[in-house]
Symmetry: C2
Amino acid sequence: MKTDLKSEVLTLRLWRQLYQTYTLLKLCENKTVEEYGLTTEQYAVLTSIGYLGEPARITDIARWLERSTNSISMIVDRMVKASLVKRTRGKDDRRVVYVSFASKGQKAIKPATRAMFDVVRKILLPLPHGDRISLFNLLGTVKYEMLQYLNPGIDVEKMKRDESKQAAKATKWLSSYGLPSIPQAKRQSGKKGRTTRRK
Amino acid sequence: MKTDLKSEVLTLRLWRQLYQTYTLLKLCENKTVEEYGLTTEQYAVLTSIGYLGEPARITDIARWLERSTNSISMIVDRMVKASLVKRTRGKDDRRVVYVSFASKGQKAIKPATRAMFDVVRKILLPLPHGDRISLFNLLGTVKYEMLQYLNPGIDVEKMKRDESKQAAKATKWLSSYGLPSIPQAKRQSGKKGRTTRRK
């Protein structure tokens, strides 16, 4: 019943939908982090450091953000001048560049992250939990198709395993940043997140 | 059964999934259009002109690409120098800037678009038709949540109606560009897309 043309149009509209969704996501991020004197790129670098742990290798930040080391280096240059991050070199290997928080970055990351969490929640929580899982998985399929297109012969299974490890790490990182929806006292008593689900 | 923390982690992972998907989409686009001497931004401007019709108002291109008029103006400046587009002013209102194809842009847009279609198909067609519809709709929900966050009080229903109109226009535009999966002869005889579904 479905014609070729309908299928083609759906495919192209979906592509555009992905594009638009991201453009809006970027605008939402921007609206949020600019209140903390940050650009979305600077915020992304700060969260990478928080997530990867201090000091973070610039190559790891680039990989995590799926950007080139060069472009991250340029962002870091400006961030050093703005006292957001500090740059150091490896003791054993001077070629390795590490980045850690500087005063202003350290001060901004926590409130900016909490504000970002609030926005992410505001936008994604209207979707039922099951829909969020579906969306996550469908995007995952598209993502792996793209990765295979970009890197033919890539080990997708290994990438999926790495992602699961990242998720575990993200949970830990998230707890360290404090979740406004989980009362501080409960988290500290070790009952991580064992409250009833918010809304 | 679901803890707050699990729900929070899913939400944040979904946000990152959206981010990653787009980053990869951009890389796929880049890999494709650079073979035609275009950047993804230039390609986006060219397709906007194709979609909106020549000459296209720079403000309409900016709206279609969800970018500021300023940033599109800067891209267009470089594209004029590269003989990709021509810029004209409105006869009645000199403040209105129009953009149309120049020689190189006209020459590149068709093969680049066909190549892009092929990549989009390659990446999205492995998803069953129903999954593509689900993904489209789920992204739509997220998109409208973001639009409401960015513009409180926005008329979402009107935007949805506008999107349907755009879809009709996209179908027309798509036919004019030729779909490799639909034999040329069939399309020209008026039996648009009435072939059996590809694959």
